[in-house]
């Protein structure tokens, strides 16, 4: 099918089989390898993308489901060369180790903060509980999201 959607702010038109998994479409056809596949069954959140602003698991979506939608992957999060406050906070607070969960985790945090701009640590933990990290023990991820929330509340960018 001819698939039309907005990808990281740009309209795209791609000839693709409608049943192609979105994670494969993004990684292999569009070359956006920042979206990771870790379990292939919707258990770990590694392949998280934003579809119309909401968190979605790209390993459980088929290409046709993107038609007419607005998709943001990790590559589309920074604007004009400036990182998103969540990305900066992840770097600064040591929330990145192997980094394989990081794109999904960052997008889940962005989506959480859009819904809940002032979350408690417990709410952050709940909001990220669909994303597995095997390296960090989550403490520094929670620190980072807390710090990003503060920054965003102070009006420092998105």
């Amino acid at each position: 099918m001819k698939l039309r959607f907005v990808l990281n702010g740009e309209s795209v038109e791609i000839e693709v089989r409608p049943d192609r998994r979105v994670v494969d479409l993004l990684r292999e056809d569009c070359g956006l390898t920042g979206t990771k596949e870790c379990c292939g069954s919707g258990e770990c959140g590694g392949c998280t993308i934003l579809v119309d602003g909401d968190c979605r698991l790209s390993c459980l979506m088929l290409a046709a489901q993107l038609h007419g939608r607005e998709v943001v992957t990790i590559e589309g999060l920074s604007r004009d060369g400036r990182l998103h406050a969540v990305q900066e906070a992840f770097m600064e607070h040591g929330a990145v180790q192997c980094g394989f969960c990081t794109p999904g985790m960052v997008l889940a945090a962005v989506s959480l903060l859009a819904r809940q701009p002032h979350p408690s640590r417990e709410q952050i933990r709940e909001g990220l509980s669909g994303n597995i990290c095997r390296c960090t023990g989550y403490v520094k991820i929670v620190d980072a999201v807390e710090a990003a929330a503060r920054k965003l509340a102070n009006g420092e960018r998105r």
């Binding site: 990684r27 292999e28 956006l32 390898t33 920042g34 979206t35 990771k36 870790c38 379990c39 292939g40 069954s41 258990e43 770990c44 590694g46 992957t73 990790i74 590559e75 999060l77 920074s78 990182l83 990305q87 900066e88 992840f90 770097m91 600064e92 040591g94 990145v96 180790q97 192997c98 980094g99 394989f100 969960c101 990081t102 794109p103 960052v106 640590r121 952050i124 933990r125 709940e126 990220l128 509980s129 669909g130 994303n131 597995i132 990290c133 095997r134 390296c135 960090t136 023990g137 989550y138 403490v139 520094k140 991820i141 929670v142």
Partner: protein, 767 residues
């Protein structure tokens, strides 16, 4: 952004150099390479735990459009054997399958869909054989032999003093049996790689691997190739934890590339396959007996350990070696006898995993220490402090502790922490239907390969033509942050900021052999080599600057960011100028290092080919606060303290990362993680029912450094990647015992086990 600028310094919490490319998704892991014209390779696995492989019907798969070839054992050109120390694992099964994950045929196809179809069409003809699934079954005299050599990979003893006789001299003795299951590494990037063969026959592979230099020899041996005709590139790994140390996809992928006509081939194990074919932490059964004098002085320890190594050796013997060496805990015990059996079964293959055999024995020894303290009516912390190893003591394996030995400092620091001091009030404040407990564990973990295998690294530095410093790093970074530490070390010695430093990740054609990313050795060993390379480069730059500035001598020169300054005159030579002046060969330096070994090798443990004994250890004292639900049996870990002796801390942020992460993995091991097996078939081969800790399951882990100075370490450091994994299971089990008066001896400590324990009479050991 408030990142620090200016020259990097040791001891500062510098954000990792790899973080930027990882938060933007730019970092390319092995799995992110999908070039044009790429083929897909995959294997058909046995699906039965033990059997005679009569034949493999490949005809139907072979004729499927889009299939390039289907290969079986007869297509493997070399020895068809892989294994880090014991080469007992076939690349493709010959006439026997020994576990469900044994590969019987390799398929190359144009795309993933065709590959999946073809794999389903491959039909192995397997005559089932009786199988064994525990060391107990495998050691029966009438058990079917899994290998020609039998079912015992290694039987070994570590002893000192007279353990048998010494129990008679003890005032209190406790005895218990413990059991722990297989644990999955569950790194998020599954085993994978991409390979192609160049026109001159060179095999180029980009693999998610912890040991790129060793991989060449592994592949060459298995496939009959020249090891130096193989180039392995090792980008950042999406996690490893030991599970990517040794051949995963390597030999299969190389074989596929040999049949791909120069086209690139990708092999990626999906999550289920990663469970079925990947290496595990050993399941172990442990029988312990330990005795002390009335005043709490430990006097004797005896234990029998049965390690289930699964179908193939991998590093089974070495894993057991480390477990045995640590079986007595970080204590002074004069009479010790540790016996170990590392046994083949038809279970999935067990191998290296963070904590490397020690996680298991730490559970047993730290549980019996609490039991013994209780029997002697002693405070568990005081009891541990009294017996904790000090420098100059002999450890339970008979080695004199001549290096930094901070377990005493860890225990003291823990004893001053509010989580310990306020424990009684906290326990009394338990809400209705909840019971609270606080538990301790004192743990340690050796650093390095041990005797018999030089633990070495070679670091190379280069002043680039544009005046930057390039670090050629020969040891993989699986996420632990060693690369960042290397940049920090170079920045400190050479007075450079991060923007002046570049890092080349391991590539067997560009970097020098520096061993595996494992054994808590990575930053210590490569770091030491790097310190040397930095000092050599510094000396060289001073000498060449003296030439440029026409100085009588090198005195008064200092490195500054991007330049060398003559301090007395203020005159400078920029790196760019020096780079232009010097021929390429002169713009480099090399440093090398071999880790020191124990010099008083005790007269025991003779069975170990390599590894025994070790002389450097990281230490930790852990505390867990738990709340147990009386109605459901659920354990919640509400607080956790880890005090760690890793020598001096190079980067507090990186240090905390390692501690937090290892504790979280240890808590998973303590509470939920276990491979459920039914006669060798994994029942929970996915994240839906193999339960990993999420952000809701891990408490706010508090990490405190109890710094010692390891005089052989770069800037006084020791590796701490593993020690943190060993504490949580015993600390939580001891806390549960503190809450309920019931001792759980089988892990994970699930709600159903807790409930069963609560139903039984008090002080009854529960299994």
């Amino acid at each position: 952004m408030t990142l620090r600028h200016g020259p990097l310094e040791i001891g500062c919490p510098v954000p990792r150099v790899d973080a930027a490319a990882k938060v933007t998704g730019e970092e390319k892991y092995a799995i992110d390479h999908t070039p044009e014209n790429m083929l897909w390779a995959g294997v058909r696995r046995a699906g039965v735990p033990h059997g005679r492989l009569r034949t493999v019907h490949v005809e139907e798969a072979r004729v499927l459009p889009g299939v390039l070839c289907v290969l079986t054992a007869s297509d493997v050109p070399g020895t068809n054997r892989q294994g880090i120390v014991h080469k007992d694992q076939p690349v493709l099964a010959v006439d026997r399958v020994r576990h469900c994950g044994d590969p019987v045929a390799l398929v190359l196809a144009e795309d993933r869909e065709t590959l999946a179809k073809a794999l389903a069409l491959v039909a192995p003809d397997i005559e089932p054989l009786p199988s064994v699934h525990s060391p107990e079954e495998a050691l029966r005299p009438d058990a079917p032999a899994i290998h020609d050599s039998g079912n015992v990979l290694l039987r070994a003893v570590i002893e000192k003093g007279d353990a048998g006789g010494a129990f008679g001299e003890c005032d209190a003795v406790v005895e218990e049996t413990f059991e722990v299951p297989f644990q999955e590494h569950a790194f998020l990037e599954t085993q994978n790689g991409i390979a192609h063969r160049e026109a001159d026959g060179k095999l180029v592979m980009t693999v998610s691997t912890q040991a790129p230099f060793r991989d060449r020899f592994e592949i060459a041996h298995a496939l009959g190739l020249d090891p130096f005709s193989i180039r392995i590139i090792s980008p950042y790994l999406g996690g490893g934890f030991g599970g990517k140390d040794g051949a995963t996809v390597q030999c299969l992928l190389a074989l596929a590339a040999m049949h791909a006509g120069g086209r690139p081939v990708r092999m990626t194990w999906e999550r289920e396959e990663s469970f079925i074919a990947g290496y595990k932490r050993h399941a172990v059964k442990m029988h312990y007996r330990v005795g002390a004098k009335r005043d709490g002085t430990l006097h004797a320890l005896e234990c029998d350990l049965y390690y289930d190594t699964g179908a193939y050796a991998h590093l089974g013997a070495e894993v057991m070696e480390l477990g045995m060496e640590h079986a007595g805990g970080p204590y002074r015990i004069p009479n010790v006898r540790v016996k170990g059996w590392c046994v083949y079964t038809n279970n999935p293959i067990a191998g290296a995993m963070r904590g490397f055999g020690v996680c298991q024995t730490a559970f047993a020894v730290e549980s019996v220490m609490d039991m013994l303290a209780a029997k002697l009516n002693l405070d568990p912390l005081e009891f541990r402090r009294k017996n904790a190893l000090r420098r100059g003591d002999e450890n339970c394996a008979g080695v004199t502790m001549v290096h930094s030995t901070g377990i005493g400092a860890c225990l003291e620091t823990l004893g001053r922490h509010p989580l310990w001091l306020e424990r009684r009030a906290w326990k009394r404040a338990a809400p209705p239907f909840k019971r609270r407990g606080v538990g301790l564990a004192a743990v340690f973990n050796a650093m390095g390969y041990g005797r018999g295998l030089p633990d070495s690294a070679i670091a190379r530095l280069e002043l680039t033509s544009d005046g930057r410093i390039r670090i050629y790093c020969g040891v993989s970074d699986m996420g632990q942050g060693n690369s960042a530490a290397f940049v920090q070390i170079a920045g400190e010695i050479l007075c450079q900021d991060a923007s002046r430093l570049e890092l080349i990740l391991p590539d067997t054609d560009r970097t020098h052999p520096s061993g595996s990313s494992s054994a808590g050795r990575t930053t210590y060993t490569f770091g030491n080599a790097l310190v040397q390379a930095c000092n050599t480069l510094k000396e060289k730059l001073f000498h060449r600057t003296a030439l440029v500035l026409m100085l009588d001598e090198e005195k008064g020169l200092a490195l500054l960011p991007g330049r060398v300054r003559h301090l007395p005159s203020g005159r400078e030579a920029s790196f760019e100028l020096l780079a232009r002046m010097l021929p390429e060969a002169d713009r480099a330096s090399v440093g090398q290092f071999i880790m020191p070994v124990a010099h008083d090798v005790p007269d025991t443990g003779k069975e170990f080919a390599i590894g025994f004994p070790h002389v450097f250890f990281a230490y930790a004292a852990h505390l867990a606060r738990v709340e147990v639900d009386e109605l459901t049996g659920r354990i919640e870990v509400t607080g956790y303290l880890a005090v760690t002796d890793g020598g001096k801390v190079i980067n507090p942020q990186g240090f905390e990362q390692q501690v937090h992460g290892s504790v979280a993995q240890g808590l998973g091991y303590a509470l939920t993680e276990q491979l459920l097996l039914d006669r060798g078939t994994i029942l929970n081969a996915g994240f839906a029912d193999y339960i990993l800790p999420t952000a809701l399951d891990v408490p706010e882990i508090i990490s405190v450094a109890a710094e010692t100075f390891e005089h052989t370490g770069p800037f006084g450091m020791k590796g701490i990647g593993e020690v943190g994994t060993n504490g949580p299971l015993p600390a939580v089990a001891n806390a549960v015992n503190d809450a309920l008066g019931r001792r759980l001896t089988r892990s994970p400590l699930t709600a159903s086990r807790v409930l069963r324990a609560m139903e039984e009479g008090p002080a009854q050991p529960v299994t």
